[in-house]
Amino acid sequence: MSQFTSGFWDIYIGVLTVVSVVACALFLKSQSVRKAPGPADTTGHTWDGDLAEYNNPLPRWWSWLFYITIVFSLGYLILYPGLGSWSGTLGWSQVGQLKQEQELALKRYGPLYEKFAATEIEALVKNADALGIGQKLFLNNCAQCHASDGGGARGFPNLADMDWLWGGTPEAIKTTIAEGRTGMMPAWGQALGEQRVKDVAHYVRSLSGLTHDSIRAARGKEDFDKTCIACHGQQGKGNTAMGAPDLTDKVWLHGSAEDRLIDTISRGRVDLMPAHKEKLSGAQIHLLTAYVYSLSRSGVAIPHRK
């Protein structure tokens, strides 16, 4: 009721509700008797010339049912919120019920996850039960971006190869899932201008042996050494401490085509992996880590791609 600035509407609703309930009771009472009927006890409705409806009384227990609903509604309005801002003697609320059910679910399903919490990731990778639970967690929480097989998509890293932006150790994976990551590539379009961005793009393509203009690449190297090596390193090998990709391999998060590289360099990139520690329990993240870790080590790793 926070959208209301005064207590008027609370009172208005409360009064309306009570008046309605009382009116229902009075109506029931007044309608349970009738004036003496005429000679033929019909409702007076006639169809097809001679088809009349008899006005037979209902059983008395039926009228009790109506009164029971009134008693029920009064009890309900005392116990539960319903009369304006009255919150009910039971203190029930939707949010409270949700919390209660979440706690109950945690108590019931928590042990399923907890029993794996003390096992090392390297050992869990060989445990089919643990990986089964991990896969379910993955499909529900991660597959939307990283695809059902963990193979990723443009802008979303492939988790099934051995190329890791932020490190591929169990600890690094766990931190990524729990805390989230923000990959920041600054925009260089303003500082370098169109031609120099293109030069850098050609130099970057040369790093992994892709076709390039060697004159542009040579010019681009100067700018690369001045601006890019801070993150991507002298050789362009990247840096897992800040999520800077290795530019010398064949893995391209945002594509390796010339126009895509120019786009990346001139406008920058912001890649966001959301934190999951609020959403998932520690034990769940542990299992998820094991599953993600297993993806690139299951022997059927997805090969590198453009």
Partner: protein
């Protein structure tokens, strides 16, 4: 459907009358005969099935179990999943059509002989008769002032009723939760809250409806009771008083009197408290107790039986009764067609279900010279054995599955499998292409399901 005139006359007298009627307690008199025998036979058949059903075992599990928590519904060799809800719908349609057919042919046959309300009322009245005696003894007992004898009699009756009701409620819950576990819980009073609630709820419903409400349920609560009259026609078998033979009523041997001796046994035997001699009334549930009662009397008087009998309006008017009339033929034809269709469908049912869900975030990936799409296959094994399935795909040139195409699924459970599908980039045009997955059980070639999906190339 008209009300007896006596009721109207009584209501016309006072100035202001209540619109609600106080229930007049009915004390049905026990009768024996052909129809009572049939009713008891049906009580036994239905109740042996009902009380015994959940105790049967099949494939090392309860034979009939509706496991709502795990969403599996076992009926002997069949395992139904929520996706099979259509069978429930068809079952209800078959039941409805069967009701239409039986009603068109023989009136409220269901109401009089197999409806749970009738069956449990019959059992409860039997208990009542044993403890309190027949009609006259019961009327006398109710009129008596409170005494030790009355309290003992009434207490014993209700105690037996409550025990029977609790057992009924327990059995009902036993169809939804394993009954053997429920029984050991019952012995230690350790029901879960919902088990306790439903045992008590269903027990209370049995006790209330069969012990107290009785004909009130049929008269005021049951919708079928009312709409069955729409299926009646002049060729429908109904319980009829042979007015021509019976009237005028009079003592046996008195001059000019018909066969009806006005003994009132038909009224006393009636569980809904009507007089069948007033003609067909909506309260009549077609239990034929009045027929049995009247036949008893007629036999004693050495007169032909059947003063009250199953007959049709046409027969009463001296016309010919047609059993095979369009209404009956149409109901029968539809009923047979649906029953045959559902039997065939159950027989041909493949115990495997597959859903293909295409990954929506990653439309298409380029992997070297190939295009890759990712799918999730939900494979549901509805058999009760562990199965190995082979996943295949077709619809495009050189289309193939990358990675493991075999998957094991546990008995009566489902598994979600990510599947990567690839084609050569140069072989297919950009756009969407129809492809088809086929999931086939290894070692049981008849178990195969095809599901279509879309492959995207950019």
């Amino acid at each position: 459907m008209n009300a007896p005139l006596s009721k109207l006359a009584a209501a016309a007298a006072p100035e202001e009358t209540s619109l609600y009627e106080v229930r007049r307690k009915i004390y049905p008199r026990a009768v024996h005969g052909w129809f009572a025998g049939w009713r008891w036979a049906l009580v036994w058949i239905t109740q042996i099935i009902y009380y015994g059903g959940p105790w049967l075992t099949w494939n090392d599990r309860q034979a009939v179990l509706f496991d709502i928590v795990h969403r599996k519904f076992f009926i002997f060799g069949l395992v139904f999943w929520p996706q099979d809800i259509v069978y429930l719908a068809v079952l209800l349609i078959i039941s409805a059509l069967a009701l239409f057919l039986f009603t068109a042919v023989a009136g409220r046959l269901w109401c009089g002989f197999t409806c749970p309300q009738t069956v449990y009322t019959e059992i409860f009245m039997w208990v009542e008769r044993i403890v309190e005696g027949d009609r006259n003894a019961r009327i006398r007992l109710d009129k008596e002032r409170f005494s030790k004898k009355k309290i003992v009699r009434k207490g014993a009756k209700h105690a037996v009723w409550i025990l029977l009701s609790l057992w009924t409620g327990f059995t009902f819950v036993g169809y939804f939760t394993p009954i053997k576990e429920l029984w050991s819980e019952a012995l230690t009073f350790s029901f879960g809250p919902w088990e306790a609630f439903w045992v008590l709820f269903y027990g209370f419903a049995t006790y209330g409806n069969a012990g107290w409400m009785r004909e009130q349920v049929c008269k005021y609560m049951c919708p079928y009771a009312r709409f069955q009259s729409a299926m009646f026609d002049k060729d429908t078998l109904i319980i009829t008083y042979d007015r021509g033979r019976g009237e005028p009523r009079g003592k046996a041997g008195s001059k000019g009197a018909g066969d009806c001796v006005d003994c009132g046994i038909c009224v006393q035997a009636c569980p809904t408290g009507i007089d069948i001699r007033d003609g067909l009334q909506y309260e009549c549930i077609g239990c034929a107790a009045c027929i049995d009662g009247c036949d008893q009397v007629m036999s004693r008087l050495a007169r032909p039986r059947g003063l009250i009998r199953y007959s049709t309006t046409h027969a009463m008017e001296g016309k010919k009764t047609r059993v095979l009339r369009p209404r009956v033929l149409v109901y029968s034809a539809i009923l047979l067609a649906i029953a045959a269709a559902v039997t065939a469908s159950l027989y041909l049912r493949v115990p495997l279900k597959v859903d293909v869900i295409r990954d929506r975030a990653a439309l298409a990936r380029e992997v070297g010279d190939e295009i890759e799409n990712v799918y999730r296959l939900q494979i549901m094994n509805t058999t009760e054995q562990q199965r190995l399935y082979e996943i295949g795909v077709r619809g495009l040139k050189d289309i193939e599955i990358k990675g493991d195409s075999r998957v094991t699924v546990e008995p009566a459970s489902s598994r979600m499998v990510p599947v990567r599908v690839r084609v050569e980039r140069d072989e297919v045009a950009p756009g969407t292409h129809r492809i088809e997955f086929e999931v086939r059980a290894v070692g049981a070639e008849a178990i195969a399901v095809r599901e279509s999906s879309v492959f995207m190339v950019r």
